[in-house]
C-alpha cells in the first residue's frame, strides 16, 4: 500500500508533523490488515501546517476550513456509518477556532477519531500563541509574552464525556501509530493528543525527550484519568481513558444508514401520499 502523493512537502525540516505522518501511514497499514480497508477509511483536516497531511496522504477525504473539520467528519459518519473517519486538527484549529465542535463531538460520542497536532503555536500564520501555549509565550501578537494561562485540553475533553482519550509524541512513531490504531478501532469518540515540536516557532524536542514518559496502565476511573491529565511533569503518553458507551448515530437512528437506505423516488411519492390528502 503506497500512501504517498506527488504533492511537494513544505513542512520545515525536522518538524514534528513528519513523525505524525509516518505514524499515521503505519497505522493505516495496520488497520487495513485488521479489516479497516482504505476504501472506507476517510480523513479530513483543519487549516494550518498540520492540515497539509491531507495533501501528502493518498487517503480519501475532505480538506476542511479552519476549526471545522471535526464537524465535517461528523457529517460524513452520520451520513454513512459504514465509513471510518479520522480528522487531523491543530491546537489553534481545534482548541481555539473550533473548540465547540470538539466538546460536542465528545459529548454526543460521535464515532470519529480526532488527532490533534499540538505544537502549542499557530505554525502556518507564523508563530502566535494558541490556547495551549504556556503563559509568557512570545509571538507576533504577544511580543511581551502571552498573559493567559494555557488550557488543559485532555482534562476538559475527559470531563465532556469522551470515551477514548490518549496522548502520544511525534518523536515516538511506533507508540503514536499504536494510539491511532486503538483510537480508530474504538467505537465512539476518540482523541489522540500528539505532542508535536515546531522547530521554527516552538522547539520542544528537548523538553519532550526529557519529560515524556509511557503511562503503563490506563486509569480505570474518569477521576484518575483527569488527575493523570493534570500532571505536567512527567508528560505521560498512552491511553488515559477508554469506556464503552452507545454511539451517536445509533442512538439517533438505530442500525440504519441514510446513504445506503436512501428511499427511491417512487417510495417517497408513496409516503407523501400517506401524509397528505392527495
Amino acid at each position: 500500500m503506497e500512501l504517498g502523493t506527488y504533492a511537494e512537502n513544505t513542512w520545515c525540516p525536522g518538524c514534528g508533523n513528519f513523525g505524525i505522518m509516518n505514524a499515521v501511514t503505519r497505522a493505516v497499514k495496520i488497520l487495513s490488515e485488521r479489516g479497516v480497508g482504505a476504501d472506507r477509511l476517510m480523513m479530513s483536516a483543519g487549516i494550518g501546517c498540520h492540515g497539509k497531511i491531507f495533501d501528502y496522504l493518498r487517503i480519501s477525504g475532505f480538506y476542511s476550513i479552519h476549526g471545522r473539520s471535526i464537524a465535517t467528519v461528523e457529517g460524513m459518519k452520520v451520513a454513512n456509518p459504514d465509513l471510518k473517519v479520522m480528522t487531523f486538527v491543530g491546537d489553534g484549529d481545534a482548541y481555539g477556532e473550533g473548540l465547540a465542535h470538539v466538546l460536542f463531538a465528545a459529548k454526543r460520542n460521535a464515532d470519529i477519531t480526532v488527532v490533534v497536532h499540538d505544537n502549542k503555536v499557530y505554525g502556518l500564520t507564523t508563530g502566535q500563541f494558541t490556547p495551549t501555549s504556556k503563559k509568557g509565550f512570545k509571538g507576533g501578537s504577544t511580543p511581551e509574552g502571552s498573559v493567559e494561562d494555557p488550557l488543559n485540553p485532555l482534562a476538559v475533553i475527559l470531563e465532556t464525556g469522551a470515551t477514548f482519550v490518549a496522548r502520544s509524541y511525534s518523536g515516538k512513531i511506533a507508540h503514536l501509530a499504536d494510539m491511532v490504531v486503538k483510537a480508530v478501532e474504538h467505537e465512539g469518540f476518540s482523541l489522540v493528543e500528539v505532542l508535536q515540536p515546531c522547530v521554527t516557532y516552538n522547539d520542544t524536542y528537548r523538553l519532550y525527550n526529557e519529560q515524556v514518559k509511557i503511562l503503563e496502565e490506563t486509569p480505570d476511573t474518569l477521576e484518575k484519568a483527569i488527575s493523570t491529565a493534570r500532571i505536567q511533569n512527567p508528560l505521560y503518553i498512552g491511553v488515559f481513558y477508554q469506556v464503552e458507551k452507545p454511539v451517536y448515530h445509533k442512538e439517533l437512528y438505530g442500525g440504519g444508514n441514510p446513504v445506503r437506505d436512501s428511499l427511491r423516488r417512487e417510495e417517497r411519492i408513496n409516503r407523501m401520499r400517506n401524509l397528505l390528502p392527495i
Binding site: 480519501s60 477525504g61 480538506y63 471545522r68 465535517t72 457529517g75 459518519k77 428511499l263 407523501m272
Partner: protein, 551 residues
C-alpha cells in the same frame, strides 16, 4: 355569504390560549369544505401572555392572503378587544370574552373563562376550543359536526373539550347562528405552511438529512422533519450551532447524502464561510434562509424581505450560487425540490429564500409529488477517478466512498485530483472550470421556469417571494388589472425573461427597495416602489389602494 366573497375569521388572545390552534382548525374546516383559505399568525417572541392573533381568510375559489378586515372576530381579552374590534366589517360580528372585557362594549359577550373553569385543568387552552365553537355556530356547522371536528382536532382531554364546546354553543345568541353561512367550494387541498412545503419539497427530491439550529422563523422545518423521521425515513439533526450545521451538511454531502440546512439571517451569517466552502469543494447543499425583520436579532416573529442582497451574495469569493425565492406555499414545495435537484446537478450551494410570512403562514394547496424534481447527478463510471476533472461543461462526475479510488474534496484551490495548488495556471484553470459551470447552469436555467407572469398586459408590477401572494390578492381585492412579473430565481438572474420591460411598479417588504435595485442592475428596469417595513405583511385592501395611487 355570496359565493365569491371573502370571509375572514380573526381570533385574538394571550399566548397559551390556543389562538394559533384555532386558526389551524379553521383552516382545516375550510379546506374540508372545498374552499381556499389562508392563515396568518401574528405573535410576539414569548411563550406565555402577550398578545397573539390569528387571521384566516377564505374564498370559495382562490385566495392568496389573509385580510385584516374580518367578518367574525373572537376576542379573548381586553387587549385583543382594544386592538381588533375596529377591524370588524360593517355586517360582521364581534364576540368577546365577557369575563375579561368590560361592560357596555359593542359585540356579543360570552363568559368564556367562567365556562372554561368548569373544565379544569387546561382552562387556558380551552379558550381556543371556544373560539372554534363560535366560528362553527356562525357559519352554520351543527353541534354534531362540531363534535366530530373537536374529536379530530383536540384529542387531549377530548370529552372536556366537547362538553365545553357544547356549553359555549348553548350560550351563543340565536342571531349569530348560521348568520355567516359559507358555501362549499370544489377543491381538494392540503393545508401546509411554507416551511412544511419546503421540507416536503426537498424530501420529494431526495433529501436524506436536514441539519439546523433553531431560529425563528425557520424552526418549524426542523420540528416538522424531526417529527416525521420514522414515517418519511429522513434524519433531522440539531447540532451545537449553525457553523456545525453547515459543516456537517457539507461532510454528509461528501459521503453522498442529500442535505439541507436552514436558519434565519443570523444563522446564515454564521454559515457563510461554509457556503463558500461548498462553492470551492463543489458540495451540493441547500441553505434555507427564512428572513425576519432585521438587522441583527431584529424582530424574530415578524416578516421582512430585508435580506435580499445578503441572500444573493452568500459566501466570499467567486463561484456559482443559485438563489430561489418562491412566491407561494405551493411554489415553495416545487422550488425546494427543484433547488435540491439543481445543487446536485451543478454541485454548488443554493439558497431558498423565504420569510416569516411565507414560512409560517398556512395555505390550502394542491401538491402533486409526481411533478416534483428529483435530485440526480453526474456520476463517475469506471477507471481512475479525479474529483475535479476538467470537463466541457465544468461539471466533474461524483464518486462516493467506500471506493478503492481516492476521492479528495479540498477547500484550498486544488488540481483535478483535489491536491492543493498555488500554481498560476492551475488557479486560473479551476476558476475557468467553475465559470464554465456557471455558464452551463445559466443555459439550463433558460429551459426551466424562472419567472412567473400573471395576467399579461399593462401596467407592470414586479414583485417576488411572499409579497407575490399579497400582490395577487390585492389585485383581486381592488379589482385592478395589472401584469405581475415575479422572478422565482434571483441568481443566476433570468435577464432573458426581462427583455420587454423598461419600467415597473415594484412592490417589496424592505425599507431600501433592494429588489428594485436588483431589477435596475440586472434588467435595467426603472421603477416606482411600494415598500412596507413594519414587520407586518401587506393587507390586500391597503395594498390595493396604494397601487391605485400609483397606476
Amino acid at each position: 355569504m355570496k359565493k365569491d366573497e371573502v370571509f375572514t375569521y380573526l381570533v385574538g388572545g394571550k399566548a397559551g390560549e390556543g389562538v394559533k390552534k384555532a386558526g389551524t382548525v379553521a383552516m382545516n374546516m375550510f379546506s374540508r369544505m372545498g374552499r381556499a383559505a389562508f392563515e396568518m399568525d401574528d405573535y410576539p417572541s414569548l411563550i406565555r401572555g402577550g398578545h397573539n392573533f390569528t387571521v384566516v381568510s377564505t374564498a370559495a375559489d382562490v385566495i392568496t392572503s389573509h385580510y385584516m378586515k374580518a367578518d367574525l372576530l373572537v376576542l379573548h381579552d381586553e387587549r385583543s378587544y382594544a386592538e381588533h374590534q375596529s377591524q370588524v366589517k360593517p355586517e360582521g360580528i364581534v364576540v368577546y370574552n365577557s369575563d375579561e372585557v368590560g361592560e357596555d362594549v359593542r359585540g356579543i359577550g360570552i363568559p368564556m373563562t367562567t365556562e372554561a373553569r368548569k373544565y379544569p385543568p387546561n382552562t387556558m387552552l380551552r379558550m381556543g376550543v371556544g373560539s372554534v365553537t363560535v366560528l362553527a355556530a356562525a357559519i352554520g356547522v351543527s353541534l354534531d359536526q362540531l363534535e366530530d371536528i373537536i374529536r379530530m382536532e383536540y384529542p387531549r382531554e377530548v370529552e372536556k373539550n366537547i362538553d365545553y364546546a357544547r356549553a359555549v354553543y348553548e350560550l351563543i345568541p340565536s342571531e349569530v347562528m348560521g348568520k355567516l353561512h359559507l358555501e362549499r367550494g370544489e377543491h381538494t387541498s392540503s393545508v401546509l405552511t411554507g416551511n412544511q412545503a419546503a421540507a416536503l419539497g426537498a424530501y420529494s427530491a431526495g433529501l436524506d438529512i436536514y441539519f439546523a439550529y433553531p431560529m425563528t422563523p425557520s424552526t418549524s422545518i426542523l420540528h416538522f422533519l424531526a417529527g416525521h423521521t420514522k414515517d418519511l425515513q429522513v434524519v433531522a439533526i440539531h447540532p451545537e450551532n449553525e457553523i456545525a450545521v453547515a459543516n456537517m451538511a457539507v461532510g454528509a454531502a461528501f459521503a453522498g447524502a442529500k442535505t439541507m440546512v436552514g436558519s434565519s439571517g443570523g444563522g446564515l451569517a454564521l454559515m457563510e464561510e461554509t457556503y463558500s466552502l461548498a462553492g470551492m469543494t463543489e458540495a451540493p447543499v441547500v441553505f434555507v434562509l427564512s428572513s425576519r425583520s432585521g438587522p441583527s436579532t431584529g424582530v424574530p416573529t415578524y416578516t421582512e424581505q430585508g435580506d435580499l442582497h445578503f441572500a444573493l451574495n452568500q459566501g466570499h469569493g467567486e463561484f456559482p450560487r443559485i438563489v430561489a425565492a418562491p412566491g407561494s406555499v405551493e411554489e415553495t414545495y416545487y422550488v425546494a425540490a427543484e433547488l435540491l435537484m439543481l445543487v446536485w446537478k451543478f454541485q454548488t450551494p443554493g439558497t431558498l429564500v423565504l420569510d416569516k410570512h411565507l414560512s409560517e403562514s398556512s395555505h390550502t394547496v394542491t401538491i402533486d409529488p409526481e411533478r416534483a424534481a428529483w435530485a440526480d447527478f453526474s456520476s463517475h463510471g469506471s477507471g481512475e477517478y479525479k474529483r475535479y476533472t476538467i470537463t466541457d461543461d465544468g461539471i466533474s462526475p461524483l464518486l462516493f466512498p467506500p471506493s478503492s479510488e481516492v476521492i479528495k474534496w479540498n477547500s484550498y484551490e486544488h488540481d483535478e485530483l483535489g491536491i492543493t495548488t498555488d500554481k498560476a495556471e492551475r488557479i486560473a484553470a479551476m476558476h475557468d472550470k467553475r465559470k464554465k459551470k456557471l455558464e452551463t447552469l445559466t443555459a439550463y436555467m433558460k429551459t426551466i421556469t424562472t419567472v412567473n407572469v400573471y395576467n399579461p398586459g399593462y401596467p407592470v408590477i414586479m414583485t417576488y417571494g411572499s409579497t407575490t401572494m399579497s400582490v395577487l390578492e390585492a389585485l383581486r381585492a381592488g379589482d385592478i388589472d395589472a401584469t405581475v412579473v415575479q422572478p422565482v430565481y434571483l441568481r443566476p438572474f433570468p435577464v432573458w425573461e426581462f427583455a420587454g420591460y423598461d419600467t415597473a411598479l415594484v412592490i417589496e417588504q424592505s425599507s431600501t427597495g433592494q429588489f428594485a435595485t436588483l431589477l435596475k442592475e440586472k434588467a435595467r428596469v426603472d421603477s416606482e416602489v411600494i415598500t412596507k417595513y413594519d414587520g407586518r405583511p401587506f393587507d390586500p385592501q391597503e395594498l390595493a389602494s396604494r397601487i391605485k395611487e400609483v397606476v
